[in-house]
């Protein structure tokens, strides 16, 4: 299928540049005869053309850098991402925040050729960008540029990736920004909920839950950033994907020129992934926030991975639970009027166990009915097969909207790289499509029974203990050192 639009965006750009007003037509001149309007049940639709993957080129440089190139000439932009096998899950727990600071200061601290301030100036004058960041299980440096400026921008991008100098004053600025965020991290109840729920599930000292603290920041100096960068940023630990308005030969030449001499690391060794266990099994916890009118609720337990056998039926189950026609939305929101926001998701990760979470916000007074309502729905999914209509809705939604997975070449490229990064087959999404088409109500119930574990569900409420009905029982203090963390008893 092509990515045709009413008119070419490129034509608009040309027009924007004051040359021609080409192809910009809303309607033609001929007015056709009107068709008769029909109710939706009387409509028939032509089949969609089959999804065709845009062509791409994958190759490897002698230094081990894997490159993906995918052309897209619709807009005069080129963008690219270097995906690096790194993550804050590999930073020492005495230095939580190290990975994130490394990502930030790689960009802000400048390169051997340009200071951070010079880069800001150069990039912004060209309406371009280079950004770097390290998250929990991956790091990236990315750029975007107008076609005409790509040689320069790619050079700056390569500098940030391979030769950052970590200017000390920019590290100090980034640390002071981090301290400011620590001070403000209890301003937002949703943020408290997300953070503390993750701690309950993975444990406060798990790399998947641990927080940057004043003390961990104090232990991070420039030398730690330099070392962390040196440990992971190597061509043989990186893949580069570029999409946009380029000529492939020129782009390959540019990559060779800027990254060909990047030295690989011999005997590259990566640390093992952290172990994951659910540390809190069951229980209802309350974080008192007397200012709130609503309770922020999250219920869940440890989940699974995308490669698990039950990934497909559980994903279909997500459709059964959510959105218009979904059980939680229909029952808790529309029929009971208990919430504006209510959700339940099996939320797997690619290479470590994710979570199963449900929740939302409800007024303090209805906290208990809201939680009970969600628990009932979870239970019902385990005990009763979903109806044929629900199965059809869930499968059709996934299959009929499949085309939206291929809206732009950039989207396709980034998915391909994600699969490659985590070691999934390149055609994973098509395998998924086939499996969804074949999934049955029995598969789904089996998956719900095998994976939803009511005994393990942890419930966390951030809310106002004065107005929750029935009121929480006497406070039972909980260790863990967080001052927001006590009174773990609600009568559910």
């Amino acid at each position: 299928m092509g990515f045709r639009r009413i008119w070419g965006v490129r034509a608009i750009y040309i027009w924007l540049c004051g040359l021609v007003l080409a192809g910009l037509m809303i309607f033609g001149n001929n007015t056709p005869a009107s068709a008769a309007p029909r109710h939706y049940t009387d409509l028939e639709f032509p089949p969609l053309p089959e999804v065709r993957l845009p062509d791409y080129n994958r190759y490897e440089l002698p230094n081990g850098l894997v490159v993906y190139l995918m052309e897209d000439h619709e807009l005069p932009f080129i963008s690219g991402t270097a995906l690096v096998r790194v993550g804050d899950r590999w930073e020492p727990q005495t230095q939580v925040g190290l990975a994130s600071l490394t990502g930030t200061v790689m960009r802000s601290g400048g390169t051997k050729q340009y200071t951070g301030d010079e880069l800001n100036q150069l990039l912004e004058e060209g309406a371009a960008s280079v950004e770097a960041g390290i998250g929990s299980d991956a790091g990236s440096v990315s750029f975007s540029s107008l076609t005409e400026d790509v040689e320069k921008v790619f050079g700056w991008f390569a500098g940030v990736l391979t030769e950052p100098v970590f200017a000390p004053e920019k590290l100090e600025l980034a640390k002071s920004q981090s301290r400011g965020r620590i001070e403000r991290r209890n301003d937002n109840p949703g943020q408290i909920l997300g953070r503390e729920f993750t701690k309950l599930i993975y444990g406060a000292t798990s790399p998947y839950a641990s927080l940057t603290e004043y003390a961990t920041l104090d232990r991070i100096d420039r030398e730690s950033l330099v070392k962390f960068h040196q440990q992971y940023f190597h061509p043989n630990n990186t893949m580069l994907g570029i999409s946009g308005d380029f000529n492939p030969q020129q782009m390959q030449k540019l990559i060779q020129e800027k990254l060909g001499s990047w030295q690989p690391k011999q005997n590259l060794e990566l640390p093992p992934l952290p172990e994951v266990n659910q540390v809190t099994i069951g229980g209802v916890f309350l974080i008192p926030q007397p200012r709130l009118n609503q309770s922020y609720v999250r219920i869940g337990h440890l989940g699974g991975m995308v490669k698990d056998r039950d990934y497909v039926p559980l994903n279909v189950l997500n459709e059964v639970m959510n959105s218009f026609g979904g059980r939680l939305f229909d029952e808790i929101r529309s029929r009971q009027g208990l919430a504006y926001d209510v959700y339940g998701f099996w939320s797997p990760q690619f290479d470590y166990p994710g979570v199963f979470v449900a929740g939302g916000q409800t007024r303090s007074e209805t906290t208990v009915p809201f939680i009970k309502g969600i628990l009932e729905e979870i239970d019902r999914l385990r005990t009763t097969p979903i109806t044929p209509a629900e199965l059809a809705r869930a499968k059709d939604s996934t299959l009929n909207s499949f085309v939206f997975n291929f809206q732009t070449p950039n989207q396709t490229l980034s998915r391909l790289m994600t699969y490659a990064y985590y070691g999934y087959p390149q055609d994973f999404i098509f395998q998924y499509q086939k499996q969804v088409a074949n999934v049955t109500a029995a598969d789904i119930q089996r998956a719900a029974q095998g994976n939803f574990q009511p005994d393990k569900l942890v419930t966390l409420v951030v809310g106002n203990p004065e107005t929750i009905q029935p009121p929480p029982n006497s406070s039972q203090s909980r260790g863990g050192g967080d001052r927001y963390y006590h009174s773990p008893r609600l009568a559910i």
């Binding site: 965006v9 068709a35 639709f45 600025l173 029929r335 208990l338």
Partner: protein, 423 residues
């Protein structure tokens, strides 16, 4: 008056279906919905006159349960998602309500059928339940101190214009809304002359036109009611307010500015970008990097809308240990600089190029393009004006910036809001 929030409430109810969608038996359901309206009126009257509403409330609950038997909850949205629709949602702002979703291109006619019926023949069922949902949505806003700060800003800065009010409505007003109120608002404002449609994707314009005539040609022509919105008189003295909340401090200041169709609009766009777009912007480079008084600082036009005269806001989060006064002084110094020193041409070129690239990038997705075109058509009277703004920005001079900054950033035109931490 007294009916704030009705536009937003109607937007929620527009997902409840029609006489044919969302019900198993409209004729039977209809009677019950009318009964519910009557009972609701009687309950209000009982409460107002000090009578015991319990019996009426019990009857209400019973009738509501009966009515629920006929409801196919969220069938309208379900049809769309089952057909492969994604991103189904709607948004109500100060200036317009927008309904949007993406469908695979082969379902074009489905969009016409569903969307035309949606407003040809709507039924505002589950009205009382949805009112609770809206009240929940409102609570989420109330519990957010930043939103409260901004809400108070518009309330204080505007004296008569509807930009004073929260889009979601005052609680009392939402509670008092009836199905009749929504129906009246619908009949007054959901007229074909006020409806603009944008479709972008792999479709043939000829076919789109044909379908538009077939499906939306069914609407009865009706002139839009002339607007009775009073213009906001000029602010003549500085205003300020302080909120004490359980939250770290935040500073905001706002200045009135003319509407989006004013010839100086492009100058305001340039000023906002110059002040806060990117790491080279004045606020980031000065307040965050150099002086290190703020964790972040930004300026933006279009608060709370932009069809009418509105505000340009500057919002800043102080670094720990920095007082709001100190932060305000640093911000003020940057504003004075804009007024008194002509902007460096290199900076101006940078901002212009960034602006152009952003407009272009916003057209990168079909959804983005559709909403931009519709917005330009509705607010500026012509979708082509979306591109004219590029030329206007291109024409902005350093003198324009100083002239507009001097006229706008005056003490009398300023409203200051402070959020301070509750002790």
């Amino acid at each position: 008056m007294g009916k704030t929030g009705v536009a937003h409430f109607l937007e929620h109810l527009a997902f409840k279906g029609t006489t044919r969608i969302g019900t198993t038996d409209w004729q039977a359901e209809r009677v019950l919905l009318d009964q519910l309206d009557q009972l609701d009126g009687q309950i209000r009257e009982a409460i107002a006159t000090g009578k015991d509403p319990k019996a009426l409330q019990a009857e209400f609950a019973q009738v509501q349960a009966q009515a629920d038997q006929y409801v196919k909850s969220n069938e309208f949205g379900q049809i769309i998602s089952q057909a492969g629709g994604v991103g189904l949602n709607a948004a109500t702002g100060t200036d317009f309500t927008l309904y949007f979703y993406n469908l695979p291109a082969n379902k074009l006619e489905l969009w016409f059928s569903l969307e035309s019926e949606r407003f040809l023949d709507p039924v505002f069922r589950e009205f009382f339940k949805e009112k609770e949902v809206v009240l929940e949505e409102r609570r989420t806003g109330i519990d957010n101190p930043i939103r409260r700060l901004l809400q108070t800003m518009q309330d204080q800065a505007f004296s008569v214009h509807p930009y004073k009010r929260p889009v979601i409505g005052y609680e009392e007003d939402i509670r008092n809304l009836t199905r009749q109120d929504v129906q009246e608002f619908f009949e007054t404002h959901y007229v074909p002359s006020k409806l603009t449609i944008g479709i972008v994707g792999d479709v043939e314009p000829q076919q789109v036109k044909q379908l538009a005539e077939a499906y939306f040609g069914r609407y009865t022509p009706k002139a839009a009611t002339p607007s009775t919105i009073s213009p906001e008189p000029p602010q003549t003295a500085p205003k300020e307010f302080t909120l004490e909340l359980d939250h770290q401090p935040v500073y905001v200041e706002g200045y009135h500015r003319p509407a989006i169709n004013h010839p100086d609009n492009a100058v305001y766009e340039v000023i906002a970008k110059l002040m806060s777009d990117g790491r080279r912007s004045r606020l980031y480079s000065q307040l965050v990097e150099q002086q290190q008084v703020a964790l972040s600082a930004s300026g933006s036009n279009g608060y709370p809308g932009n069809k009418f005269a509105h505000m340009i806001l500057f919002l800043a989060f102080p670094k720990p240990g920095v007082s709001l006064e100190q932060l305000a002084q640093s911000l003020q110094a940057e504003i004075i600089k804009i007024q008194q020193e002509p902007i460096d041409l290199r900076d101006l070129e940078r901002v212009k190029k960034q602006f152009k690239a952003e407009v272009l990038a916003s057209l990168g997705s079909n959804g983005g393009m559709a909403s931009n075109l519709v917005e330009a058509e509705v607010k500026l009277g012509d979708w082509r004006k979306l591109f004219e703004i590029i030329d206007r920005v291109e024409a902005v001079t350093p003198e324009d910036i100083q002239r507009v900054a001097k006229a706008t950033f005056t003490e009398a035109n300023r409203t200051v809001g402070r959020l301070v931490s509750k002790k």
